[in-house]
Amino acid sequence: MYRIRFHGRGGQGMKTAGRILGTSFFLEGFDVQDAPRYGAERRGAPIFAYVRASRSVIQERGVIRRPSLVVVADDTLAGLPEADVLGGQSADTVMAILSDVPEGTWRSRLNLDSPIVCIPRPDAIKGYAGQAMAGVCCAAVAARLCGSIPKSTLARAVREELGFLAPSVLERSLSEASRMFDSLAPYEAVVRDRPDREFSCDNPPGWVELFHDAAAVAAPVIFGGLTSRLLKTGMWRTFRPVIDTARCRRCWWLCSSFCPDSAIHVGDDGIPAIDYEHCKGCLVCVARCPVHAISAVPESRGVRQENGEEAV
């Protein structure tokens, strides 16, 4: 069985990647499961999609804990515990990552002995507008690395899954998939079709007895306000707004009024400050500031600037 896990951010087409790959396997006569994980399926938030493909009936269910292939669309996820990119990886798990950072750096950063395929990010997915194309590219990566899917089948699956889009988008998707597939010829079939696991090798679950508590104890009542602040939605950002306080005119805080997430607060000095723990990077503030005192900076550069590793 092939067990493939896609990691990306909302908006990068991970669900689509799973569907294209799943359909490709299906067209080749495999038994297939493909499903994204239910959760905060929001733009920028970590997204997971899973594909299982087997020559026999698939008995496994649920999320993939022991992947044979992990495809990472966005290398900034590698450092996020919530994204769990490394979860369940073993010595023969192949990790394919779309990244301009060299393979050796990833090997030492992640302390991995297992195979890493580092694929330079195609131009098509760079910048804000091209994000959605990452899914098609990742499907092509997985198809080539698994080796059981001819290019013509991949193209058929892309047509089947994206046929409802505008013809120009479909054509671009097909050409990106084709280019990615061709570029990975040296990695054909590096992911092995492993025999399905015997369930007898799994330990029986440790049952936990749940007692019937009184409603006052068991009902999901929240007694404290504002607990949502414990959720750090700042990790959704791909771009961050940065305020140039020298240019800020201390207007009546348009940025703060228009921030959908209440993530801009105004200090006693009248200067707004952005709460980066919660700012999702929607950039409404950048668009609204009348004197253009807020700029959008790629998140990775913003982090380096915050740490003093790069000049502002």
Binding site: G10, A40, S228, T233, W253, P260, D261, I264, G281
Partner: protein, 306 residues
């Protein structure tokens, strides 16, 4: 109506404190969340929000809440019925001196357009019949956004949704919820857009001075469902007002008054062309006909206003 005695004359009268909590799982650039936080900054924590199922289901997922006060979750069609129960309970506590006057809470229904325009309409009409004392906030993102933007009775004619993928987009027409409310002759009903915070604040101020069923119908641009960059969320609201597609108006004292009259209306294309859901209209002559139809409907509406 005279503006004298109004608290919100300019942006400088606005609260600078953000009362609504960060960390909610709504999409980046969510127009619905924007209107909720603007309203909450004005209403404050002496409120109970009764939430019909929809995107905002995810506001308060145990044990997290962005509210300072209370929130109650109901099924999609029954938020006004839930509000009736909460209002009645508060009234009984007040009458029996178990709640002090200053501890009274404002009951606010929070609903998306799927529930407000469709399956929740019957319960809403009933609450209007009974004169229930509540605020009704509908964040209208013109489709079932939480489940992938299927069409709703609030979807505009011609828009592509995940259930209207043909060349013509959605074949139906957007239901006029404001007029349905006005037909019930409530104390107050208004349309708002978070892109016009001053207009919104003035309306909230008026509605707070009244009792009974009071509605705010909020234009809520949806980056995910409508296909535009989150950063443009407020600009899409501006354009909806400036093209005349989203009239800002209120129903008070039995009369409809427009609170913003666009001096020179922009062509509807300016609004449509920035959204993926209307992109197909620009690709064929049949689509061009639909754009002309939409422009005609907007023109006819404003003819009636002048």
């Amino acid at each position: 109506m005279s503006e004298s005695g109004m608290q919100y004359r300019g942006m400088e009268d606005f609260p600078s404190t953000r009362l609504f909590g960060s960390g909610t799982p709504m999409c980046a650039g969510c127009g619905g969340l924007l209107v909720i936080h603007q309203l909450y900054d004005l209403l404050g924590s002496d409120t109970v929000f009764i939430n019909a199922a929809g995107c905002m289901t995810l506001l308060s997922v145990y044990p997290y809440t962005p509210f300072r006060g209370s929130w109650l979750y109901t099924a999609m069609a029954s938020a006004p019925a839930g509000a009736q129960g909460v209002r009645d309970a508060l009234d009984i506590l007040l009458e029996s001196d178990r709640l002090r006057r200053e501890e009274n809470l404002e009951v606010v229904v929070l609903t998306g357009d799927g529930a407000a325009y469709g399956m929740g309409l019957s319960a809403t009409s009933g609450a209007l019949d009974r004169g229930l004392d509540f605020i009704y906030l509908c964040y209208d993102n013109e489709g079932y956004g939480n489940t992938g933007q299927q069409y709703s009775p609030a979807t505009p004619h011609g828009a592509a949704t995940s259930t209207s993928r043909g060349n013509g987009g959605f074949r139906g027409n957007k239901k006029d919820l404001f007029s349905l409310w006005a037909a019930h002759n409530p104390p107050y009903a208004a349309t708002v857009s978070a892109s016009e915070p001053l207009d919104l604040a003035r309306k909230v101020e008026k509605l707070r001075s009244l009792r009974g069923p009071r509605m705010l119908l909020a234009f809520s641009p949806c980056p995910t469902g409508w296909g535009f960059e989150p950063a443009q969320s407020v600009m899409i609201g501006n354009l909806a007002v400036q093209t005349g597609i989203w009239p800002l108006k209120e129903f008070i004292g039995g009369k409809v008054e427009h609170t913003v009259l666009p001096e020179k209306r922009l062509p509807v294309e300016e609004y449509l062309k920035r959204q993926g859901r209307f992109a197909h209209l620009f690709a064929s002559s049949a689509g061009r006909d639909i754009i002309a139809e939409l422009q005609g409907a907007v023109d006819r509406y404003w003819e009636g206003v002048r």
